[in-house]
Symmetry: C2
Subunit: 162 residues, 2 copies
C-alpha cells in the first residue's frame, strides 16, 4: 500500500467547511419540511420526481434513480407515502416483477402546498448567500463531483412543481 497523502491545511479547511455547510443546509431543509409539511426531505424528492413524470407515475427502479434513493429505502418510503395516501402502487403489466408508483391527487396537492416554503428556504439559505459567479462555480463543481461517481449530470433529481 502507498503512504497516505494527508490533506494540507488549506484542503483541510475546505473539506471541513464543505461537509459542514452541506450537512447543516440539508438538516435545516429537513427540519423546515418536517415542520411545515410533515415529511422529510427525501420524501419530498420522491413526490417531486413523480410529479414530473408522465402521468405522474414511475417504475420503482426509475423512481429510485430519479430520487437518488436505494431500492430498499424507496420501498420503505413508498410504503409510508402510501399509508399517507399520497402515492399509490400499481402492478406493471409488461414486466411482472415491476411496480409503478403513482402520485395521488392528494399527494399532488400536498406537494403544491409544500413547495413554496421549501423553495424559499433554498433561496434564503443557499442562493441568497452566494454571488452569481459563485452559483455558477458551484454548479460546475457539483457536476464534477458527480462525474467522479460516474453519474452523468443527466437525470438529476428533485425540486418544485411548475
Amino acid at each position: 500500500m502507498e503512504q497516505t497523502r494527508w490533506l494540507d491545511d488549506d484542503e483541510q479547511r475546505v473539506w471541513r467547511s464543505f461537509i459542514t455547510a452541506s450537512g447543516v443546509l440539508k438538516e435545516e431543509l429537513d427540519r423546515q419540511l418536517q415542520r411545515d409539511s410533515g415529511m422529510p426531505y427525501g420524501y419530498y424528492g420522491i413526490l417531486v420526481a413523480l410529479s414530473e413524470a408522465p402521468n405522474r407515475e414511475l417504475r420503482m427502479s426509475e423512481l429510485a434513480c430519479s430520487s437518488s434513493a436505494s431500492r430498499s429505502r424507496l420501498s420503505h418510503a413508498v410504503s409510508r407515502l402510501e399509508e399517507a395516501g399520497w402515492v399509490n402502487r400499481r402492478a406493471c403489466p409488461d414486466d411482472r416483477r415491476g411496480t409503478f408508483a403513482k402520485l395521488t391527487d392528494e399527494g399532488y396537492r400536498v406537494l403544491e402546498q409544500a413547495a413554496p416554503g421549501h423553495v424559499a428556504a433554498v433561496r434564503e439559505w443557499l442562493f441568497d448567500q452566494l454571488t452569481p459567479e459563485q452559483v455558477r462555480a458551484l454548479g460546475e463543481i457539483s457536476a464534477a463531483i458527480l462525474e467522479g461517481f460516474g453519474a452523468s449530470s443527466e437525470n438529476l433529481p428533485p425540486m418544485p412543481p411548475t
Copy 2:
C-alpha cells in the same frame, strides 16, 4: 405573504446538482467508513474532535458543537462509542451538570487505523475531481453558506489525526 420566487432553470440545475453531489459523496464516505472501520461518518467526526482536544477530552456540549451534532444525537452516539470501548465518560468536577467524553487509547488506535482510508476516499472523490481553482472557490462558497447560518467559519469540525 409574498408570491414565490421559483428557481429558474439554471438555479434548478445548480441546486439539484449540489444537493445530489453532496448527498452521494456523504453516502459513499459513510459506506466506506462503515465497511472498513465499522463506524458511520458522524462517529468518525466525534473521534476526530476528541483526538484534537487537549488531553483528548471535551465537555459534551463542546463536543456537540465541534462535531455538528445535536445534544441528543451526541448523547446516544457517545453511549455507543462507550460500549465499543472507544470513549469514556467522566463527571465534570467544576460543573456538576457536566460530563466529559474522553477518547480511550483503543479509540485512538481505531481512529489512526481508520484515517488513511477515509482521507484517501475524500481525496479520490472530492479533491481529485476538482481543479485547484475550484477547490478555492468551494472553500469560499462553503464559508458563505455557513455565514448564512450565523456559524462563524471558526470552530469547524472533523478530519484526520496528525
